[in-house]
Amino acid sequence: MNRIVLSRRVLAGVAVAALALAGCSSKDDPATDPSASANAGGVAALTGELKGSGASFPNTYYQEVITQLKDEAKGLTVTYNSIGSGAGKKEFGQGLTDFAGTDSSVKDTDGVAAGSFLYVPTVAAPITVSYNVKGLDKLQLSADTLAKIFQREIKVWNAPEIATDNPGVTLPATAITVAHRGDASGTTSNFTKYLAAAAPTTWKLGSGDTVAWAADTQAGQKNTGVAQLIKAADGGIGYVDLADATDSGLKFASIKNKDGQFVAPTLEGATAALAGAEIKDDLSYNPLNAAGAAAYPITAPTYILVKPKYDDPKKAALVKAFVKYVLTDGKALAAELHYAVLPAELQAKALAQLDKIS
């Protein structure tokens, strides 16, 4: 008796689930079909599998783009593992992946042979200098002051250097707590490269994915860990990417750029920095400390590495289509995820780069 009741219930449940599924798909189909046909590139017809790995910095953006692409091209599976730029380049060099994400340019020690890769710039993002000081809602910093703060030469908020950058602002005598990344990261690399470029005489710690920070600074894991340290200490300051700094509700300092303007970290400021950056022939570029009145100077680039020649022509076509999708249709997703899109000129160059793939 009981069993019959049970099986009836199960049946009813299955029926409801089936109905719900049917409802979903019938609702979804008209929604996705027109958008798929709108993408004249014919993404919907693509089938196959693509594997990529690398930088964690653009991971949110790539995952979102991949999810959207999945809706349009049901037969195409793209995976991206955010394992870090270094490991990503290594896997790509060994032929384990079809493309790699990297924040840094390829070096001899990375395990990717020269001539076996092409850079395709995808997005960029500003790195904020976030702070938490009671009673200080607006802060301007020059590169030299920033360098002195992060190597612990300035230890209080009312130091004369900070006062010079902020005329007419009353600064509290709070002690400065410096927070930095404990894990190796492209964010640290870009931040220290900026300081090395913009304050060459002041900054003494060099640059890299990790540097020898002073012992009386504090280290957090990932961007969120640094944001949490800044929030926890009155007088805290640190570098955090825009997405996590915004989510954590931190205040950002405006940074003095090459043209002498104090610019707040915004996506427009980042795009302006890309426009002002000098683009090399291989499309690698350095937007740090870029020229331009509206350029935000601490802007980090990121690239997808692809091979100029794939063994399988079908694979080459898939890579081309995927990266093209990232550069064109995916663009609309960038802003809400706090990534800056490429300026039109650079985007055109990046798309032209894809034609070299065969």
């Binding site: 270094g86 190796a184 492209g186 060099g206 640059s207 540097v211 020898a212 280290a219």
Partner: protein
């Protein structure tokens, strides 16, 4: 009848001998597998770490992990001493806290606790062992570290003035992420290990020994001191060494709460670093010499563990000889 029986036992014996040989081969190869795996791990680590294994790596505490290609006045330098120091300090704190507590719990469970309490306490302690280390780490940075800051400040105010010892209790780092917090978190993590093994060891003490101690008029403490502890010394040292191994190798929890500051300081309330923590923090993005030096730290950790184990073996053997001598 009898003839049939004999052939039956004979045919049964033959496969039995084969099974015996197979069993012997299986056991020996299982035993050898451990050695082979350890040997291969050490060999491949040594091979990958080779470029980094210079004299400075073992003797210097200068850690400048810069990008060698980028502009800057600094040359990369990879000295592992700071991290070795941190690992040792954290392990020592963890053992100092965990060993007395664990032995106390184990004695309570075997000698004092009523049967009904025993079951639930054992269950709770085993649950503690099942908590993933990242949970301990997150609890450490979000709850324990901030809550411990006032305690550290109080300790600094009361004990900081004493010469020599006072240098251990210096100014505390504001985030509370320091050697002490890391040591305490690791202590909590190794308590279940030391407790459960000690408990098993204490349970093997012959009842006759205990009864004999009581018969001589010993109090409960004298009985534990005279009968339980000497009998189980070797086993307890084994338990402590197992806990120490876990403490030295603990990665994520320590990486989260130790503060990741590269410095050697006697002050337990300052941020530091440890071998496994620096490996997990930097390995993802590492290449070239930095990667080799991180693998080199793995080698150092490996050697440290082996050294501690050998030392423990010597301690146990000496103690056993002394005790046997006393008994005879």
């Amino acid at each position: 009848m009898t003839v049939v029986d004999k052939t039956a036992t004979l045919t049964r014996k033959d496969p039995g001998r084969h099974a015996d040989r197979l069993f012997w081969a299986l056991c020996v190869s299982a035993g050898l597998a451990v050695l082979v795996i350890l040997g291969l791990i050490l060999a491949s680590m040594l091979q990958q770490a080779l470029p980094a294994l210079t004299k400075e790596f073992f003797t210097s505490s200068t850690w400048v992990p810069n990008d060698p290609d980028e502009a800057g006045p600094l040359h990369p330098q990879y000295g592992s001493l700071t991290f070795l120091y941190g690992t040792v300090i954290v392990s020592v704190i963890a053992l100092l806290v965990a060993v007395p507590v664990s032995i106390g719990i184990a004695l309570f469970l075997t000698e004092l606790a009523p049967r009904r309490v025993r079951g639930s306490v054992v269950l709770l302690i085993d649950l503690l062992a099942a908590v993933p280390s990242v949970v301990f780490g997150l609890w450490g940075i979000l709850v324990a570290a901030p809550a411990l800051v006032p305690v550290y400040e109080w300790l600094h105010d009361t004990l900081g003035g004493i010469p020599v010892v006072g240098s251990l209790f210096g100014e505390t780092v504001t985030s509370g992420r320091n050697f002490m917090t890391a040591g305490l978190i690791v202590a909590i993590m190794i308590i279940p290990i030391i407790t459960s093994i000690s408990r098993e060891v204490f349970a093997t003490v012959p009842n006759s020994d205990k009864q004999a101690a009581y018969a001589l008029g010993a109090t409960r403490w004298e009985m534990i001191k005279g009968a339980v502890l000497p009998h189980s010394f070797g086993g307890v040292v084994g338990a402590v060494i197992l806990g120490l191994g876990r403490a030295m190798g603990e990665t994520i929890a320590v990486a989260l709460v130790i503060g990741s500051a590269v410095q050697i300081t006697p002050n337990l309330f300052q941020s530091g670093y440890a071998l496994p923590a620096v490996i997990v923090n930097l390995f993802g993005e590492a290449s070239g010499d930095l990667r080799a030096s991180l693998i080199g730290m793995g080698v150092v950790l490996f050697l440290l563990t082996v050294a501690v184990n050998l030392l423990a073996r010597v301690v146990v053997r000496r103690a056993e000889i002394r005790m046997k001598g006393a008994g005879a």
